[in-house]
Subunit: 436 residues, 2 copies
């Protein structure tokens, strides 16, 4: 069982789970008559449509049987985008799975995805919410709020507890659900428990997702979780897996802007290197302010070398003190940023950070781990690593420390990546303050 | 003290409040040097700028003294939209005050406002967050997350506890903060307590807001709160005050779509008449599905007359059961919808619902109350009442019942609207399930 934001989420072993009666009943009258379509479950060709007017509801009669996937409420309704002038020119439906869907980060993220601000105003969306038996009622609540929001682009919503069903045909998998670290729990124990979740979700993605699915891992420890996930999904290109370091990047940009007394839109080329942990390296050597190297603008080297990184890392902890909760809204914004960076071309000369697979990297970082590095995209969902990157001893030493940590984490989860017996020796607690 | 979503918010009596030291200290180094500009607090003409490089921060030197308003963090930075190619063509800054800014509805709404999805991608935004002494730390947390979100359009954020400061020059006031009804509290007691808040906020708006400020009241009982607010703001056109019934409208559209087996984008002309309470009237006589009268599409008259309204009203209560919290996300979406309906032209033939001032209405509803009615806008922030509206006995009788309730509520708050002594006789509990 996986708990996120006070609500259990995201994981059950492979196999078929029946959804409890109340939910199934909601959909049944329409579901039993739903046409069988392999990929676009709730939409229907105008030619196949046969309107039935029974005084209670207009439903679409077509061949049985019901799909085994669960739709929710109004999203069980058939629709035909090609029949309306406003929607005829829309792109093909994009299917997005979100795990930990009943948690607070998802509660912000799902509405952003549905609004069109991520994929654009001509991109219809299917949301597939992954939860647990315990969170299923909460997932229904989330789906109800999505219904009541009347988002025109949001055409399908389904909820489920089996990743083999929820991940079917998905183009994106946003893996937010993870077990939070309990009191006194070692990072090694967390690696093992959450690693198991991501091993199973990797297998499920491998089995049923779109072969080119893009995966963003948010649940911690996200770099090693992403590595486990990709190792369990050999059919999916390893390059497609990301560990979220975008909130770190955003926070680093904001702190540089604050220090320089400029607005944050002036900061570019901000790399977070390494692990999403206290060994992460916010890179002030390559970052620019108004197109100039940071060190030319901020002369306070002591602040850059000693305080900047700590300030970025402490941000989550300070926020919890002030606000009483972890940073759900800004985390969701950073997930949006991470996706948008892959589906829109990177501005000329700039880059963004993402935790990605290191094999083939040009920097000399150890292969076969997931490490945050500077990326550029043509906007096609893919990326290339930036090649015009400066390196100095100060930066490289810190990168090597984060690399060493990730290599040690990898040994802890060897049993989950198919590389033999695990051996776990993690001396320090490197969880970021305020992270779960 | 006003509590919303578990955090205190939104109200302090008129007068000047000092902000505690930690916050003030954050801004001081920049604030003391900030140029004095009457309307655009943190922006500065390029010509006036004098960059000072002190090794610690680049600040803008200009005439003292500090503004008495508080900015937050990176939003204390000066900027010049005219200096950059990307921002030169942007519109003039719009200033938006949000009360109850530390609550959950605001936590969704503020990020939507900042993202540009409400006012458009060329509309820079200033957010002015109103809280209470008790919620001030939480407000700082919200402001920190807004900083970390790096929204290009969000140029100014300030936080405060005095409506006379926070409302200064605002173009929009979104009044979300209100005291929730405690156990055993009568609606009359709630009317009195929250009415006092909205009387004071009305006075503050009258004194310092933009003379054409648009006000949307969300805090309950929102219709009568809006009436109190407008009565205490005689300099602001009464037409500018709205009580939010948009979530009711959205829920009603969704339920009609579900019943008809169509997608919700097919439902139009959905009016909520009356009070945001259980006497509200979701109007199935005028609503249309795919351009046809609802009664032609949904033949189940018993459902329309007996179940439809109850289903819409119960929605919030069902959601709390499922999700464990009240509907913050979809309420925020409905506030966005309400604003967007005023700043974009209403689609031909359609309308939207808003609780507005009745004086001069063409329907025969009692004057001098705030009543939800069908509205159309040219997109200029203003609206006209729809004139092509059908009426039958069934609809009219229910409208009269909601009118009677609002007239009774008005008598309860006569001491707050300058109309003599209050006399309160509210027989029924008409709070909507799941509402605070």
């Amino acid at each position: 069982m996986v708990v996120m934001g006070g609500l259990s989420t995201a994981y059950s072993p492979a196999g078929s789970h029946l959804v409890p009666a109340p939910l199934a009943a909601r959909c049944r009258s329409v579901r039993l008559l739903r046409p069988r379509l392999a990929t676009v479950r709730c939409s229907v060709d105008a030619a196949n449509k046969q309107q039935v007017q029974d005084g209670a509801a207009t439903v679409v009669a077509a061949e049985a049987p019901a799909s085994r996937k669960e739709c929710f409420g109004v999203f069980c309704t058939t629709y035909d985008l090609k029949a309306d002038d406003e929607t005829r020119s829309w792109k093909k439906l994009v299917k997005i799975a979100v795990s930990g869907a009943a948690g607070m980060i998802s509660n912000h993220l799902l509405f952003k995805l549905a609004s069109g601000e991520v994929f654009g105003q001509d991109q219809p969306i299917a949301l597939k919410l992954l939860g647990s038996e315990r969170s299923l009622q909460a997932l229904e609540g989330v789906a109800m709020e999505l219904e009541d929001s009347l988002y025109p682009l949001l055409r399908e919503v389904s909820i489920g507890i089996d990743p083999y069903e929820v991940f079917e045909d998905v183009d994106w998998a946003l893996l937010i659900g993870a077990k939070p670290r309990g009191p006194g729990m070692e990072r090694a124990a967390l690696l093992d428990i959450n690693g198991q979740i991501f091993a199973d979700q990797g297998k499920a993605l491998n089995a049923v997702a779109s072969p080119n699915v893009k995966v963003i891992v948010v649940g911690n420890p996200c770099n090693t979780n992403a590595l486990i996930c990709l190792k369990n999904a050999p059919k999916i290109p390893a390059k497609n897996f990301h560990a979220l370091t975008r909130l770190d990047e955003n926070r680093a940009k904001c702190q540089l802007a604050l220090k320089a007394g400029v607005f944050y839109d002036k900061v570019s080329n901000m790399t977070i290197w390494g692990n999403h942990s206290t060994t992460q390296v916010p890179d002030f050597l390559n970052a620019k302010i108004d197109g100039r190297p940071v060190k030319e603008v901020i002369k306070d080297t002591k602040w850059l070398e000693e305080e900047f990184t700590i300030t970025v890392q402490k941000r989550g902890g300070v926020l919890i003190q002030k606000w009483g909760r972890s940073s759900a809204a800004s985390t969701a914004v950073s997930i949006v940023d991470a996706i948008r960076s892959l589906v829109t071309p990177t501005p000329e000369g700039d880059w963004f950070s993402s935790g990605v697979y290191t094999t083939g990297n040009p920097y000399g970082i150890a292969e076969d781990i997931v490490f945050s590095m500077p990326c550029r995209s043509k906007g096609d969902g893919d990326y290339e690593l930036a090649s015009d990157v400066l390196m100095d001893d100060f930066l490289w030493e810190r990168i090597k420390k984060s690399e060493a940590e990730l290599l040690a984490e990898k040994k802890c989860v060897a049993h989950l990546t198919g590389e033999g017996n695990a051996f776990c020796d993690l001396p320090e607690d490197t969880m970021l303050p305020g992270e779960m």
